[in-house]
Amino acid sequence: MGILEVKGVNKRFGGLQALGDVNLSVQEKSVHAIIGPNGAGKSTLLNCLIGKLIPDTGSVMFDGKSVLGRKPHEICQMGISRVFQTPEIFGDLTVFENVMIPCFAKRDGAFRLHAIETVMSEKDIVEQAEAMLSEVSMLDKRHMLASSLSRGDKRRLEMAMCLVQQPRLLLLDEPTAGMARADTNNTIDLLKEIHEKRDITMAIIEHDMHVVFSLAQRITVLAQGSPLVEDTPANIKGHPKVREAYLGETA
């Protein structure tokens, strides 16, 4: 039984069958990649996982509880954090504030009218945020505005914001999209390190094979809305069906 269980999910948009009978099981503490060519239904599946879309049939269970129909903040409070294709951070706030906000969210829940003490008087939050920032070696940048960071630093900040909440599942939506090779490799290293150090469950949606094969322990290949195969990277690499669907090679 995995931490995230997707069972029999179907989603139609008008005449288009975006997802057809998707079954997926992400094991705890593993890195699970979902790959597929453009239009395979990766993004639709992700949107079903985070409650943005509700599938026509089927269920999505996280840790035994359904995530369907829940709001994004409720899903996050359940322990699912999300990293976006382009880093989503609080650009007008400082790096330090960016990391403190998730700390407050984790401690105080979705809403708290907390308007008397200053932010800095919350010692536990301050310490937590400093520890996190030093872990991603951004402590020296803590007074910078987040929008003035380089793209790689924005990605790291976003990761830090997710990790400081100690999520049970980290969803990554094409974390290296549009990056140069060097940045991609840096991101891979960062993710590897996070996984090794924190034993965190990750689900990665990606179409860059290099990223997938360097990180994943388990790979699901989607094609035309349905899972084609699910296997270890070694087995996927040589799989004829995958080559056919993904690389467009005719057998």
């Binding site: 706030l93 400082t94 400093e130 150090k197």
Partner: protein
């Protein structure tokens, strides 16, 4: 990026220094915020002197703003703008109907005075409560949308309130003529003789009572109402500083910055914005209550959309999202409204009498459109200039001047003097 784990020692020192930066001030404020608060406090208390720099009877005396009526307006609209800024400056939601809360608060206050007591405190409390409840209702509906749709919804609510107050609700609002305290009003707790018109007071101290000080050619007026309003304004200002620096204030800035990330961080942005909206509405109600306390009458025009637009101008002109900006903006606009609009062509001719006749007429004709009823033109030009050249409002102007002076002194201790202090780069958490 591969060496992320190599500097754990930096963590402990960092934690200490950041925590230390929050000390140094008083009243729970940081040193800088406390200094700002002290400056505002001193200015408000010395306002009767500061605003009256020109001797009575001199040609420049009409630029004096140190008379009670105008000073009261400065602080009351300051409160209004501070409250508006909590919503607009922090969350970025532009309410275009804030005058409705001010008006509703005013009606609440005057009824309290008509029925219960002429003491201003219950009236002001009533104004805050009524405005808060009304803001809760309006905000609950309007905050379902954001951006321009939110602005339009709030505008619609405000105009509806205005129309209702003007006509349908005449039994409660007095319609077009509004409400004032009459000689037939018998407040429950105040002893009033038959036929006597009650006056607003604070435990017997009448709002309009003043103490006049003559120093040579100067005349300074110290008005009880002004000082009461000023104390309330300082309290409101203090509370807004606390709110700006609190986790709640940080969350509101997060709403403005990126709602998507906020939601995916496990925070529900809706109650945050609603709370900001209600707090902001209560500030407006407080301003409305004070207006009634100072001058015991209300009319529906107080809720008209131009009044809502005025507070938007105040916040943007002074510097939206800054602490002191809205107060500056409010003072600036009210000064223009009351001083520029009083200048007329006779006064202009007096000023330029020393010019040759033809030239005098020419200069007067040139300036005339900008004075008197034309003060809106002056305000519009000033507003455009500020928005174009100083997007951060008057506060940014002040910061630029301060920076320029620092540079001229040539000392290199400028930006790095206090690196642990709150970021100056963030334009909306400045002062």
């Amino acid at each position: 990026m591969t060496d992320q784990t190599q500097n754990p020692p930096a963590m402990t020192t960092g934690a200490q220094s950041t925590v230390q930066a929050s000390r140094g001030g008083m009243l729970g404020l940081t040193a800088n915020d406390f200094r700002l608060f002290l400056i505002v406090l001193v200015i408000t208390f010395l306002a009767p002197f500061i605003l009256n720099p020109f001797p009575e009877g001199s040609a420049l005396a009409q630029f004096n703003a140190g008379y009670p009526d105008l000073m009261q307006r400065f602080v009351i609209f300051g409160i209004f703008a501070i409250g508006f800024n909590i919503l607009f400056g922090l969350t970025g939601y532009l309410s275009f109907g804030h005058a409705a809360f001010l008006g509703v608060g005013s009606y609440g206050a005057i009824w309290m005075m008509k029925l219960l007591t002429l003491n201003v405190i219950p009236a002001i409390i009533m104004a805050i409560i009524v405005a808060g409840i009304f803001a809760l209702m309006v905000g609950y509906v309007s905050l379902r949308r954001s951006g321009i749709y939110f602005s339009i919804l709030t505008l619609a609510f405000a105009q509806m309130s205005y129309a209702l107050a003007y006509s349908v609700l005449t039994p409660i609002t007095g319609g077009e003529t509004g409400l004032q305290i009459k000689n037939t009003d018998r407040p429950l707790l105040s002893n009033i003789q038959d036929g006597e018109i009650g006056r607003a007071n604070l435990f017997g101290l009448e709002m309009r009572s003043s103490f006049e000080l003559e120093l040579g050619a100067w005349l300074f007026t110290f008005n009880a109402g002004y000082y009461i309003a000023a104390v309330v304004m300082l309290l409101a200002f203090y509370m807004s500083i606390r709110l700006f620096r609190s986790p709640f204030g940080m969350m509101l800035r997060a709403v403005k910055s990126n709602q998507q990330r906020m939601n995916y961080t496990g925070l529900n942005s809706k109650p945050y914005t609603l709370a900001a909206f209600v707090i902001s509405g209560m500030y407006a109600g407080l301003a409305g209550g004070l207006m009634v306390a100072m001058d015991t009458q209300v009319g529906p025009e107080r809720m008209f959309w131009t009044a809502s637009g005025e507070v938007v101008l105040m916040a943007i002109l002074g510097g939206a999202g800054t602490l002191i900006g809205p107060v500056l903006g409010a003072g600036f606009i009210k000064y223009m409204e009351n001083i520029i609009s009083k200048i007329n062509s006779t006064i202009l001719h007096e000023w330029f009498f020393w010019l040759p006749d033809g030239l005098e007429n020419f200069v007067v004709a040139l300036i005339y459109p900008f004075i008197g009823k034309g003060w809106h033109l002056t305000l519009g030009i000033m507003f455009m200039a500020v928005v174009i050249f100083l997007p951060g409002g008057l506060v940014e102007g002040g910061q630029r001047i301060a920076g320029w002076i620092k540079n001229r002194r040539g000392s290199g201790d400028g930006p790095d003097k206090d690196p642990e202090h709150h970021p100056k780069q963030a334009p909306h958490v400045g002062e």
